[in-house]
Each structure stands twice: as C-alpha cells, then as structure tokens.
Amino acid sequence: MAFDKMELRDIEVWDGNFAAAQALRQCQIDVVAAYPITPSTPIVEGYAKFEADNFVEGQYVMVESEHAAMSACIGASAAGGRVATATSSQGFALMVETLYQSSGMRLPIILNVVNRALAAPLNVNGDHSDMYLGRDSGWIQLDAYCPQDAYDLNFIAFKIAEDHDVRLPCMIHQDGFMTSHTAQGVKTLTDDEGYNFVGDFQPMNDMLDLDHPVSHGVQTEEDWHFEHKARQHNDLMTKVFPKVQNAFDAFEKLSGRKYNIVEKYDMDDADVAVVCMGTSVETAREVATEMRAKGIKAGVVGIRLIRPFPFMQIKEALEGVKAIATLDRSAPGGAPGMLFNEMAGALFNSDTRAALSGYVYGLGGRDLTKKHLVDLYTELQANADAGKVLTPLQQFIGVRGPKLSYL
C-alpha cells in the first residue's frame, strides 16, 4: 500500500462533515470528483487534506460544477471502481439530471448530502428541501441524525450500494450546520475495521475491462424504457430492504451500534407520536421523555431509510397510535408535505385510524425548540382524546407574523 494509515482514538471529537470525510478515507475511494458548496465543503476539504498528507491513494478530481462532479463520478463508476462525492442545496439541484442518470445506469456511487435550503431566497442553512428534491431519483437515501450516524452510515452505504444484487447509488443525508458543523464525540473504527467492513470493490460491467467492451447509458424508447424503470423500482422495493437490514446487522456486530430502517423511540405503548428526520429526532426523543413524566404516552418515529420508503415498517411502528404528527422540514409547494403524504399512504389501508396532522418547521435553518415540541405533543394528546384532528391539518411551527395553517 502506497498510502499511510491513520491512528484514531476510540472516540474522536468530530463534526458531521469531518466524520463523513474520515469514513470516505477509510473506505479507500478510487475516485472522488467533487465541487465545494456550503455546508458540505469541509467534507471535500477534509478529503483533500488527507490526499495531500498521503492518507488516501485514489484520484481526487476537483471539477468545475456539481453537475460535472456527478458526471465524472458516473464515468469513473462505469469504468469500474469505488466512487464518492458530497454536495448540498443548489449544488444538489444542479446535479439532479445526473442523479437520475446514475441510478438509471445502476452505478453504486455514494453521495453525502449535507442538507440545506433551496433558493430563492438564498439561504445557506439547514433544511430538507434538497433531500426532498432527490426522493424520486431512484437513489437509496439514508438519514443521519448526528455526526456518529454520518460516519457509520457511509460504511453501511457502500456495503448496500455496491452489492451486486443492488447496484444502486446511495445518499447519506445529514443536517446542514446542526450536524455538519457541530462537533460531538464520534466512536471510530480502525482503518482496517472500516475497510474490511466494506471490502474490496467488485467491478461489474466495467469499461476498463478492455477485453470485454460494454455500452453504458443506451437509448430506450417506448419499447423498453418502462420495463427498465419498473424493474429498477422493483429492485428498490424488494431487494434493498433486506440488504439494508443485513448491512445494519453486520455493522452492529462490528461496532455495537444498532441502526434500524425505522427508528422507534418509546413506541411500544405510545398514544401520540411524532414522525421526523434529521437532528429533530433527537430533540423529539428528549421532549417525548419529558412528556411521559407528565403522563402523556409520547413516542418518536425517526425515518432512517427515506428511499425506498419503509411503508411496512412504518405501519408496524405506528400500530395502535391514536394521534400522529409529521414534521416536514421543506416547503411543501402546494401540498400537505412529503412525510404527511407518506404516512397517510402507509396507514390508509391499515387498522390504525390515527388522527394525522402535518407540521412544517425549520425552513432555512429556523430552530425547532423543545417548547415547540411540548406544544405539539399537547395538541396531539388533545387529538388523541377527541379521536379526531382538532387543529388544521397543516400548520407552520415557529414562523413569525400571522399563524399560517391550512386544510
């Protein structure tokens, strides 16, 4: 090996960005093609410094835009090797065309998305607008709630995406600034443990197998396009869940850290539940515990696997709950909100007849406070007691001016 290994302490103080950069280093990426954008920039800066100090051996290609970053990742991945990059927000939006191309070409690229609002108005802070923009792109989407998750989920992502039964690209999301720039204790793997978990890259249909030429990215019109798209969706819906579970199980065996497709907190006997993602999950858990002390049977459901969406696991997690609130951190643009819609979809044909209400919060980095969640759980308990939604179906949390609510 021409590169140097790094000695890590068992617990390092890392923010989410540096945790992701360290995971990429340990996974020994062959090609990173990237373009910097706030708040994900420190991931590629961190990786660049690793390269400068001989801690990585692959090619690091600093391209001229996010679209080019994913384009180069596609070319590199099709050539046959381990590929990763990172982006946020506007850069993610610029990448969207290539997101569909990479998933359609079945290339296991790993993309760290440090979630940030979408302009206009321009805003550099964290919300889930970019994450939502990618949700129909055919990628697997994993959500980190803290720097530890951002580190761990990178290893897990390679394990899932590069599996020859899957061969789909995977995003790891973390909240801009709240996770990406907030340093916490992160339990580490040694370089050998981390690399051995993901294993050597196994090429398939690789362009650099010069004795076996392949054509990537061909044309299909009405005669074949539908079959390709439908079968790819079928793989997402049937093959990915068990592979994700296997990867979570294997990672638990290695690290002792347990991840679940749906992260349930105090849900066994919960009457009221909040469904949310990102850093809000930890806040909601803390408030749920406090509500329990006040006699409200509160629980939290965190979505870990956003795509493919875990309808069955959600249905199971929310069974018997009387009132549910979905927390969407993205302007819904004339609809009830993604999580609200998915929850309604998961529960409509079930026996759980919960009062379902939707909340939009935290746009452009606006804080979600414990007080907000105390009020929300109180509203949920009232809904549970009444057996119906007493508030409007869609409300905004923490927005100044007139109280906005609909439906």
Partner: protein, 317 residues
Amino acid sequence: MSEIKKIKNLKDFSTSADRFEGANLLCPGCAHSIIVREVLNATNDDLVLSAATGCLEVCTAVYPYTSWDSSWIHIGFENGSTAVAGAEAMHKALKAKGRLKQDRDPKFVSFAGDGASYDIGFQWISGCFERGHNMMHVVLDNEVYANTGGQRSSATPIGGSNTTTPAGTHSYGEKRNKKDMMQIMAAHGSPYVAQVAPNKWKNMVKAIQHGLAAEGPTFLNAMSACTTEWKFAPEDTIAVSDLATDSLVFPLYEIIDGKELNITYRPKNIVPVEEYLAAQGRFKHLFKDQYKHMIQEWQDRIDGNWEYLQRREEAKV
C-alpha cells in the same frame, strides 16, 4: 507510449477491423460514421469512448443493440467529455493501485456534436481541458442541432436557414458568425488542437494520431457535412466536404501547445465560396436578389480568415 499505427493506403485504412459497426441508424450519407471510423481505425490502442446525446448516440446504442465494440458510455447532452474524464481518472487510480484487469493504457475519446460542444457542453469541456485529463474531444461539427430537426447552434454559420433562425421575407436566417472553438481550445493550453475533415482522410489520420499520442487533453473539430440539414443528396457528402475544404470555408489547420499554428491543407485550386453555398439547400435563399449581398460578405470573410491563418503560421506565435 503506444506504437503509432501505420496506414498505407485508403483500402488498408477502410478495411481495418471495425470497432464501430456499420449496423447503425445514422442517415445514409451522414459524415458522422465516416469520422468515427477514421478516429477508431487510426489507432490499434484500446479505446474508452463516450458520446454526448445527439445523432451519434441515438443512432448507435438503441437497446438491445450497440454499434460499439469498444467500451462506450453516454450520460447526457452536456457531459460526455466529463464521462470520459471520470473514466480516465479511474484508470489512473486503478493503475496506481495495481488493480487494472489488463495492464494496458487505453485512449480516452469523447465524441460530441457542435451543440454538445460549442453550446451546452462548453463548460464541461473547458473543465476537462483545464484539469489536463489525458483525453481527446472530437466535435462532430455539422453546424446545427441535427438530431432534433435543425435548430441553430453557436456553430451555425451566418446566413444559414435553420428552424430557429429561418430565412424569410425579412430575414436571411442566422445572423451571427460561427464561434471560434479552435482558438478557445488552444487558449486552454492544449498540446494539440486541429480542424479536420473526413474527405481529407490522410490529413485527418495524421491529426488523430498526433492528438492521441500527445499527453493531455486534445481537441479535434471535425467537419461533418449533414445531408439532412445542409440539404444535399446523400451521395454528395464527400463532394460537399471537398467544396468546404477547397473553398476554405473550412480550412484545415492545427495549433500545437496553444501557440504554433500550422496550415495542414492548401487547396491547389481555391474554389469560390459561392460554389460551396450553392451546393446546399440551407443557403438557397442567399441567391435571391434580396440577400445576394451575403455571398460577397461570405467570400470577404473567408478570405480574411485565410489571410489571418497564414499570418499566424508565418509569425509562429
């Protein structure tokens, strides 16, 4: 460096083992396939190729068929150059790590139309050249968005009638001169850029081999006469191409290391530009009294450009 293939004569050249099959959907008389075959047959090296969205791509890789017997990728309209750059980076990485399946160094070549090079893919090509990837970008320059039915690009010449700049009672068609991509790419410091035409095949082979042998990103602007959009009979592709090169509308020259300009083809008998224009339906309206002044404008501009190229060559700068 790999050995440069020896090509003795046209028969020898044209009967090389095809890595681009004749079984494709390109129009009869399309110059794209001639150019592609000339590029592929000019070398014995392994090839990793890309095509931007466009005529070449939609006509050569329609599932479940492919015309390509070399590694090939298409992503989108604008990013074919970057696709090949990504593959080239992966080759470097795997070579350094000792993981290449075959210990051979392929050539990396991206093909793209003028729209995918001069317009929508411009930034991506510029990025690839600035970063110095070891690759060749070949423009199949038919001066129009041919795949979608003849819309103007920034390679479309003045006075041409196209669907988005049609000639009419008050317009002679396209109003702007063609973008000078040769100078732009040379200004990137490329070791080799050349303007080539498939009818001058020996000249073209030399340029291809020079470009493939150079270290770093090289650029060929290949004239691709378009029977469909230039509006001439399919059997006249080479004749129209000859008019283009012999009238100096499409002068053949190279620029080495961003500076040294050499004219690589000097017609024995220079043909009036009018003959080139008259051979194509896209310029038909220029022969009406109303627009006839454009023909002299064309001749003056081409003369001026030829004068400029000769001065650049003499000055060696």
